[in-house]
């Protein structure tokens, strides 16, 4: 065990999988020698594995994704990087019409073992085209698996599972967690998809969230502990498959639920979770489910606007206090 950053842990996972299995290769814009990925996740891998296995591509998101599909159905395991999550919009046909549907549409003849890594989230004043959180779009597409690691100790195990998984995996990261450190196992380990993790145990209220909002929720939980409010924090780790069991058990214990993500509110993952919980645990709820999301606007540039847009500790704490 060593304390390393999320970025390091992710790279370690990629490196170990490339060492383990020759079929694994990386491609994307500026992932190679000259840059090492816009967020430096792949830095050093081209040096280690060569430019054939860590391939720089032209700025061609649709064809990067489509080429990954073609490579995946013919015996390779592509791990593609789309530089910003906002830019997967350019890959949507290949991701949602092709990768997601092939196994089903072709009656199980072929599978699409690709991983598409990308990064969501604001907090860096990058404005409307480089800050969005679009994970719910993919949750709405049957056939895709979706990993949403928020912690260093999870990202390594999850990337390994993603690479070994026979289906297309959307592997989403967040800009503000790359530098977060945690103890990460040195050895080869995988984390099964569909297993949430209780990040903090509590008795009064359950908080379910993703990405940077989990880090904030944990801070809030710490604060509220002093006021005598005991908060349980759950990290789903994957959105598809989704671990509803851990969540429902928690809600049955606490009777209260606050959902926190950086997505714009309407049609967000939190809407789906709220629907599931009222279907499966309505009788255990002692208060209405609360949602803490961004407002239904594009992500604004100017710092005071962006700070207003992104949910903060105060808003999370207020939502908790409202129902406890």
């Amino acid at each position: 065990m060593a304390e390393i950053t999320y970025r390091e842990a992710l790279k370690e996972g990629l490196r170990e999988e490339m060492q383990r299995d020759e079929r694994v290769f990386i491609m994307g814009e500026d992932v190679g020698l000259n840059w090492g990925g816009a967020f430096k996740v792949t830095k050093g891998l081209a040096e280690e594995f060569g430019e054939a296995r860590v391939r720089d591509t032209p700025i061609s998101e649709n064809t990067i994704a489509g080429a990954a599909v073609g490579a995946a159905i013919t015996g390779l395991i592509p791990v593609v990087e789309i530089m910003f999550g906002d830019l997967i919009t350019l890959s949507m046909d290949q991701v949602c019409n092709q990768a997601a549907k092939m196994h089903y549409m072709f009656g199980g003849q072929t599978s699409v073992p690709l991983v598409l890594r990308s990064v969501f989230g604001g907090g860096k004043n990058l404005a409307s085209h480089h800050s969005q959180s679009l994970e719910s779009w993919f949750m709405h597409t049957p056939g895709l698996k979706i990993a949403v690691p928020a912690f260093a100790s999870d990202v390594k195990g999850l990337i390994k599972t993603a690479i070994r998984d026979p289906d297309p995996v959307m592997f989403f990261e967040h800009k503000l967690v790359y530098d977060k450190k945690e103890e990460v196992p040195d050895e080869d380990y995988t984390i099964p998809f569909g297993q949430a993790k209780v990040r903090r145990e509590g008795a009064d209220v359950t908080v379910w969230g993703t990405f940077f909002m989990l880090h904030k929720a944990l801070e809030v939980a710490e604060e509220l502990e002093k006021e005598g409010i005991s908060v349980e924090v759950i990290d789903p780790r994957t959105l598809a498959p989704l671990d509803t069991k851990t969540l429902i058990e928690s809600v049955k214990k606490t009777g209260r639920l606050v959902l926190v993500t950086e997505e714009t509110k309407t049609g967000a993952t939190t809407a789906e979770i709220a629907a599931i919980v009222q279907e499966e645990a309505f009788d255990w709820l002692d208060a209405p489910i609360k949602r803490v999301n961004a407002p239904d606007t594009p992500v604004p540039f100017s710092p005071p606007l962006e700070q207003y847009f992104i949910p903060n500790n105060k808003r999370i704490a207020r939502a908790i206090r409202d129902i406890v």
Binding site: E29, D30, L33, N34, W35, A38, D56, T57, P58, I59, S60, E61, N62, T63, D86, L87, T89, L90, K124, N125, L126, A127, S128, H129, H130, P295, D296, T297, P298, P300, F301, S302, P303, P304, L305, Q307, Y308, F309
Partner: protein
């Protein structure tokens, strides 16, 4: 082609204006008051100047993520432009857009976009609109070498050709897309020759020479206005700085950088010498022009600094244009 003296003087003034503006942005960035990222136009000024001097006020331009120079050259208000970069409410986009979306519609700027190559289809539509509405206006669409590898490039060039749209495609080939040299992602010697496949007349010019860019644009505008369709102009140029705010651009070979960043290749110096040699500009006039620009830029900077940030709740404004 003989360029008249008045035009030569204007080419000098406009090249210099963009240079001084960008230098000011760099200074403000040094003062740590420019939020987010920055793609400076330093080095490429002659392209924006040469193209826009050949356009009328009513003509349109489509910009990119590296858009400050385009917008300023097209005649945007410098106060509102600088205020936007600082995220102030007096900015042209009310602080919603910032550097990557710096836009002044009333100056004939269709938009600045953070999604590489997303401007090309918009330029097609604007040119189609000019044609259908029977105006004599033309559209100049700026994009990078990297953008020419995106699918929209082929689709847009093709549509513009079949419909004989009043469009000028301006490729700013600064030899790199982030850290990726164009040599690595484009098999042909020039980007211009790709236009041959769409039967679009094309030319390669020295993008650091405002006069050359101007002359090529004048020809293209003539063709566009008379209904003969689009032209593609490849302007070969070079960034003076890295791709974005913290990029030291170490991936550029030393001799290449030395050549391009030499005084002889400097865009301001080139057009200044031409203008003086042609008797279009005296040293005293040049100094006067420079003093005026410096003063205007300084005033814009004061204005931007003094302006207020938007109120946080303004995040919610302007999502829709209205209700019927």
């Amino acid at each position: 082609m003989a360029v008249d003296k008045k035009t030569l003087k204007e080419l000098y003034a406009r090249t210099l204006k963009v240079r001084r503006f960008e230098e000011k942005v760099w200074d403000l960035f040094g003062e740590n008051i420019v939020p987010g990222t920055l793609h400076l136009y330093l080095g490429q000024e002659a392209v924006a100047a040469g193209v826009t001097v050949a356009l009328e006020k009513t003509d349109w331009i489509q910009s990119t993520h590296r858009g400050h120079g385009h917008v300023i050259a097209k005649g945007a208000d410098m106060n509102a432009a600088l205020a936007e970069l600082l995220g102030k409410s007096t900015g042209s986009c009310k602080g919603k857009g910032g550097s990557m979306h710096i836009t002044q519609f009333d100056a004939g700027v269709l938009g600045a976009t953070g999604v590489v190559a997303s401007g090309l289809p918009i330029a097609v539509g604007a040119a189609l609109s000019c044609q259908m509405r029977g105006t004599k206006d033309v559209v100049a669409c700026f994009f990078g070498d990297g953008a020419s590898n995106n699918g929209t490039f082929g689709e847009s060039l093709n549509m513009s050709a079949i419909w004989k749209l009043p469009l000028i495609w301006v490729v700013e080939n600064n030899l790199y897309a982030m850290g990726t040299p164009i040599k690595m992602t484009c098999p042909s010697a020039t980007i211009a020759q790709r236009a041959d496949g769409y039967c679009i007349p094309n030319v390669v010019v020295d993008g650091n020479n405002a006069q050359e860019v101007y002359e090529a644009t004048v020809e293209a505008v003539k063709r566009a206005r008379s209904g003969e369709g689009p032209t593609l102009i490849e302007c070969q140029t070079y960034r003076m700085r890295g791709h974005s705010r913290f990029d030291p651009a170490k991936y550029r070979p030393e001799d290449e950088a030395k050549h391009w960043l030499s005084e002889e290749r400097d865009a301001v110096r080139i057009i200044r010498e031409i203008a003086i040699k042609q008797g279009a500009l005296t040293e005293t006039e040049a100094e006067k022009i420079e003093a005026k620009i410096t003063k205007d830029v300084e005033k814009a900077s004061e204005f931007a600094k003094k302006s207020e940030f938007p109120k946080p709740e303004e995040t919610l404004d302007d999502v829709f244009a209205g209700v019927l």
